[in-house]
C-alpha cells in the first residue's frame, strides 16, 4: 500500500480550482483541485451521515509507516437513491480512493472515486456534486 500524490499541471489546476463543486459548499472552499491524490488502504470507519459521507482509511508508505486519512464522499440521500447504503463498504475492506487533498494540509481528501480490489466502484456518482471528475477535468 502506498500513498501517491500528484500535483497537476498549473493550467489544469487553475481551471479546476475555480470549479464550483459541492451542493453543500463550494469545492474550492476546502479542497485543492491542483492536488490530486490516490490512496490505497484499509477502511477503518464509515460515517453515513449528512451533509457528506466520510470514509476513514489507514495507508502504509514504503517504510511501513501508517497514515490515517479521512475522505469526504457524496451526500447520503443522493447515494441512497442510487442504491448505495452504509453497508456498501465495510470496515476492513481494501480500497483505492482517488480524489483531491484539503487545502489545509491535513490528511483529508474529497473522494472522487472509491474502488474495491475487484475494480468495482463504490458510491459511484459522487461527481454529481459538480466537482472535478476522478482525477482532473478534461482539457
Amino acid at each position: 500500500m502506498r500513498v501517491r500524490q500528484a500535483v497537476l499541471a498549473a493550467g489544469i489546476g487553475l481551471v479546476a480550482s475555480a470549479l464550483p463543486a459541492i451542493a453543500h459548499h463550494s469545492f474550492s472552499a476546502e479542497f485543492d483541485a491542483a492536488k490530486s491524490i490516490s490512496l490505497q488502504g484499509v477502511v477503518t470507519k464509515l460515517d453515513w451521515m449528512n451533509p457528506h459521507i466520510w470514509v476513514y482509511l489507514d495507508t502504509k508508505d514504503e517504510s511501513g509507516a501508517v497514515g490515517h486519512w479521512q475522505c469526504e464522499g457524496g451526500p447520503p440521500n443522493v447515494l441512497t437513491r442510487q442504491g448505495w447504503s452504509k453497508d456498501s463498504l465495510k470496515v476492513g475492506d481494501q480500497v483505492t480512493i482517488d480524489g483531491f487533498r484539503a487545502k489545509d494540509g491535513t490528511n483529508t481528501c474529497n473522494a472522487r472515486s472509491v474502488k474495491l480490489p475487484s475494480g468495482k466502484s463504490v458510491f459511484a456518482g459522487s461527481a454529481e456534486d459538480g466537482g472535478p471528475s476522478k482525477r482532473a477535468p478534461a482539457q
Partner: protein, 254 residues
C-alpha cells in the same frame, strides 16, 4: 490571472464536467413528456403538488446539454456587481458550508428534490436540502417593514395556468449559486411555475437587482415528477466535519 479569466476557464471545464456525468442520475426521466393535460386542483388551478427532481444549477450562466437548464451566459453586472463577483473567494468562507440557510436562489439551484404542497391560499416548497421550507401566500401583499430574511418575502398569484411568485426583502447574505454569483439586498426575484404536462414543470426565474445588474436576466429549467421517490431528511449539522474540524472557514458576520 484574473478571477474573470479563471471564471471563464472554470465555465468551460464545468461544461465538460457536466456533460461527462451522463443522463442517468440527474435527468433520468426528464425527457419523456406525457401528452396529457396537467392535473388540476378542485378549485381549477393547475396542481403543482408532488416531489420534483431538478437539475443541479451550480452556475446560473450555464446551459445544460439536454436543455434542462438554460442560463444567461453573460451577466449584466453593474460596477458594484462586477466588483462583488471578482472579489469573491470561497476560501474565506462559503456560508453554506456552515449550514447557514442557502437562501431562495441557492435552494432553488440545489440538486436535491423539492416537494410542492398547494392549497388555494398557500403554496409551500419543501426543500430536501437541509430540510428547509418556504411558504408562499397567494393573492396577498408583501409585508411592510419586515426584517429582511434569507429566503425573502414571497407572494404568489396565478397568471392563467402559471404560478408567479414575487419575492423581495432579502438579507443580502447569500449567493445566487454554488460558484458564487453575487446579489444584493435589493434583489427582486420573479419565479414562474407552469405544469406543462403530468410529469413536468417548466420553471423560469428572473433576477432583478439594480445594485448588482444593469438589467433583468433569466434562467429556465425543467422539473420532473418522481412518484418513485419520497422526500428524505437532511440534517446539515449532523456531521459537518468540514466546519467542525476547521477545514473550512465560517463566513464573517455582516
Amino acid at each position: 490571472m484574473s478571477i474573470r479569466i479563471l471564471s471563464l476557464a472554470a465555465n468551460a471545464a464545468l461544461l465538460l464536467a457536466v456533460a461527462s456525468l451522463g443522463p442517468t442520475v440527474a435527468f433520468g426521466q426528464a425527457s419523456r413528456a406525457v401528452s396529457a393535460p396537467a392535473p388540476r386542483t378542485p378549485d381549477g388551478k393547475p396542481d403543482l403538488s408532488g416531489l420534483w427532481q431538478r437539475p443541479y444549477v451550480p452556475d446560473m450562466t450555464k446551459t445544460n446539454k439536454d436543455q434542462s437548464q438554460i442560463g444567461t451566459p453573460e451577466l449584466p453586472f453593474t460596477e458594484a456587481g462586477l466588483k462583488a463577483w471578482k472579489s469573491y473567494d470561497p476560501t474565506n468562507g462559503d456560508y453554506t458550508g456552515s449550514c447557514l440557510p442557502f437562501g431562495l436562489m441557492r435552494s432553488m439551484n440545489s440538486p436535491d428534490p423539492i416537494q410542492i404542497m398547494q392549497s388555494p391560499k398557500y403554496v409551500a416548497l419543501l426543500y430536501e436540502q437541509n430540510t428547509w421550507f418556504h411558504v408562499i401566500p397567494i393573492d396577498t401583499q408583501h409585508h411592510k417593514g419586515a426584517t429582511p430574511t434569507w429566503f425573502g418575502d414571497s407572494v404568489g398569484h396565478w397568471d392563467g395556468d402559471t404560478l408567479v411568485v414575487d419575492t423581495v426583502n432579502f438579507n443580502g447574505r447569500t449567493r445566487l449559486d454554488t460558484i458564487g454569483h453575487p446579489h444584493s439586498d435589493a434583489m427582486h426575484v420573479i419565479e414562474r411555475f407552469t405544469r406543462t404536462d403530468p410529469t413536468h414543470i417548466a420553471y423560469e426565474v428572473t433576477i432583478d437587482d439594480p445594485k448588482t445588474f444593469t438589467k433583468q436576466w433569466t434562467n429556465k429549467r425543467t422539473f420532473t415528477l418522481r412518484t418513485d421517490w419520497e422526500i428524505m431528511e437532511y440534517s446539515c449539522e449532523e456531521n459537518n466535519k468540514d466546519l467542525y474540524e476547521g477545514h473550512i472557514k465560517a463566513p464573517p458576520l455582516p
